[in-house]
Symmetry: C2
Subunit: 439 residues, 2 copies
């Protein structure tokens, strides 16, 4: 294999540790207004991951972690109820155009490999998968019949297909079965992958293969430079379960598994909750940073209330912004269809924009280099009542423009919200010493 | 006037200080799962306001402040560009049905008094106004021709009309003119009322009448029990202006004005920013609580980024939730049309739901009594895959149900997002010792 021979290192982490500046580091650093020299030590110590499978040739690489802009992931993929791969590919490409940094293909129906290969060949965003979902589909045999080797072979298949990061629920073990029974959580396990492994352990009596054969998995990941995204099977599925023993015990194990991966130069991301009351989010981030030694934290939400189905992009934006301000560096988007249905293209859009708002607000708050510049340009455009200038800074210019134009103001320099009562107009006139006319 | 003779006190604060339990206190306390005895000391010391003009007979009273659930306000009212009072009244009533605790009538066109009287006669939510907006409209004379007395007379008119709280920008003075010029803010003053007073001071050379004649205004407010909402003319209109000298100096003055109102038993709410980076929100709340001695804080947003026109209900939900968790007790809703146009009915709905999410998430975080109960019921319904039970707990059941039903799942107990991969289904089966079928 030519490609392997050309490279003098297996993973970005190994390269960083050996002081080799890779093409991926150079591109990822430039994206952050950093030099590769500033980025390398962060990759070397694991505080930044650059998920970049050596076979993902179309990748436009980017880093995830400390000091960098917060990245966002978009979950897509067909299910048995929504099985049109064409529609799904359209969603992927529009998600990338709308600013997705990563696409997780969670397909759970049909012929998954061609879709995965198509993604790797066409998609410049990082590609992630959850191999345990694909196992049942790949073998077309039901869960209880699969062996540990079957699961590992699907991880290898995804690595060979060019996937940049894989979610692996390595942190639960047989002991988790009694923990879950003993602690009587309201929602038990709500991680799809986690529940499959839990059920498999219950049905077969065996240990979690992703835990038992972790070293073998690391060897596969090292070979292709697949970043391990340590799944949090016990993430809370409701506020009542947040920050409980089940979640915290798994986090401790994820910290151990992080170190074992780093020993083999395998890059790691750690996944986090879930549903968490606002006052517990900062603590969750700090504990993860400490226990997992600064590994990039990838959070789903967290949703700050359970009662807003149809609006979970908003509950997630609140939680995600607070999480990112306090240390999370990768936000999984949540759409208005969460808990209800597979998202359609409009849901995907709403989810991406809400995540981007959360990520950007957090980047400003944590002082990421240059993050606020665009807000300052927006303020200048607003001060000048320069509407075209405002659209140039807007996260979704089409929507903003459409709202204004649907209710045209009488005066072209104002909007229909305030008309001639516009404070900006009044102040500009007053400060120029002009009379302010309102009537 | 019969009504005045019946009452042995002028304001709720006076009653509380004299140990009189009013009907309003009893109702407001019951709404919070408190006794009136628990509420009285909070009203007496100003930490809770119960805005309740003695002439607003249709009011369903509620408290705003420390220990209570976070309340939300909905701004409505016609403008020259959108002047249909019928449509606006429809919005008011639907806003109340969607959970608005207060309606601020910001009408700036046409015959405002009949609309205001109609609101007071029909609307059970608290009614607020900004008399300075109405002054130009009421007299049909442009700003520069109005006198200090004209402004005060409009405050009296609104009090006599039965308005429960009035926003008065008492905190800026002639000194603010040089402050604003000196500090070169990006957005100067973005408060509509603040800009009108600023312009009036510039045009006439006079002092801010709401500051100069504050005692006279307090006497009017005392007479009708109108709560003074101390407007923040210098609230930041962009992230760059947040927490600056102009804002902070005005806040100090609002603290002084709070004490002066309390000396006359007049209830006070203090208004706050605006556009604020996330990392500055908690500090803003703490400083306000200290400087204004625990008076209820009423925030507009704060918006945590400037670049999301079309989505400012989301930027405001992030900021509002953090603000409320850290001490704000009253959130002014922000709609997707903010900065762009007068909101239509759908915008109003989106704004209210986003605010309710922020308020509820904060109430959970700050430990308001019983706030999380409904989330726990939602979790129980989810665990049982009881979809009707979920709709009963949902903040907007119609929208949630419609999303699920638009993409019907194959299996009635799951949804089309995960189908048979549903973690809840898998866990329920596994914990019952059943085989988990996925295919």
């Amino acid at each position: 294999m030519n490609n392997k021979e050309e490279r003098k290192y297996k993973t970005q982490m190994e390269a960083a540790r050996r002081g080799i500046v890779t093409k991926e580091m150079t591109i990822a650093a430039a994206r952050e207004n950093m030099t590769a020299e500033e980025l390398i030590p962060l990759v070397a110590c694991g505080k930044v991951a650059i998920p970049a499978n050596r076979l993902h040739k179309s990748l436009d690489p980017r880093g995830i972690g400390s000091m960098l802009t917060t990245k966002i992931n978009v979950n897509l993929g067909v299910s048995r109820d929504c099985k049109d791969y064409g529609v799904e590919l359209e969603k992927v490409m529009s998600a990338v155009n709308m600013g997705a940094d990563a696409i997780m293909d969670l397909s759970s129906h049909g012929n998954t490999e061609p879709f995965r290969l198509k993604l790797v060949s066409d998609c410049p965003a990082m590609i992630g998968t959850v191999p345990v979902y694909d196992s049942v589909i790949h073998y077309q045999r039901d869960l209880g019949t699969l062996t540990a080797k079957d699961f590992i072979d699907v991880v290898r298949l995804h690595a060979e297909n060019g996937v940049d990061f894989v979610t692996l629920h390595c942190g639960i073990t047989r002991n988790t079965i009694s923990q879950i029974k003993k602690h009587k959580r309201k929602m038990n396990i709500v991680s799809r992958g986690g529940s499959l492994i839990f059920a498999w352990m219950c049905m077969t009596g065996n240990e979690n293969p992703f835990y038992e054969y972790y070293d073998e998995i690391l060897d596969i990941c090292r070979e292709y430079d697949v970043t391990v995204s340590l799944g949090d099977a016990c993430r809370p599925g409701c506020l009542a379960d947040a920050t409980d023993v089940c979640q915290t015990e798994e986090l401790v194990r994820l910290g151990e598994l992080t170190s074992r991966a780093w020993e083999k130069d395998v890059q790691v991301i750690v996944e986090g909750p879930g549903h968490v009351p606002m006052d517990q989010i900062a603590a969750n981030m700090k504990v993860q940073q400490s226990v997992c030694k600064g590994a990039p934290f990838y959070v789903l939400g967290p949703l700050v209330t359970d009662i807003a189905p149809g609006y979970d992009h908003i509950t997630a934006a609140i939680g995600g912004a607070i999480a990112a301000m306090n240390g999370a560096s990768f936000l999984c988007y949540v759409t208005p269809a969460e808990h209800l249905a597979l998202p359609d293209i409009e849901d995907v859009k709403q989810g991406i924009i809400a995540s981007r708002i959360a990520a950007h607000a957090a980047d400003i708050a944590k002082g990421v280099r240059g993050a606020r510049d665009i807000d300052d340009r927006m303020a200048d455009a607003r001060h000048a009542l320069d509407w075209d200038g405002q659209w140039k800074c807007a996260i979704d210019p089409e929507t903003a423009r459409a709202i204004r134009e649907s209710r045209k103001p009488e005066n072209d320099d104002t909007c229909s919200m305030c008309g001639k009562f516009c404070a900006v107009r009044s102040m500009n006139k007053a400060l120029r010493g002009e009379a302010v006319d309102i009537l």
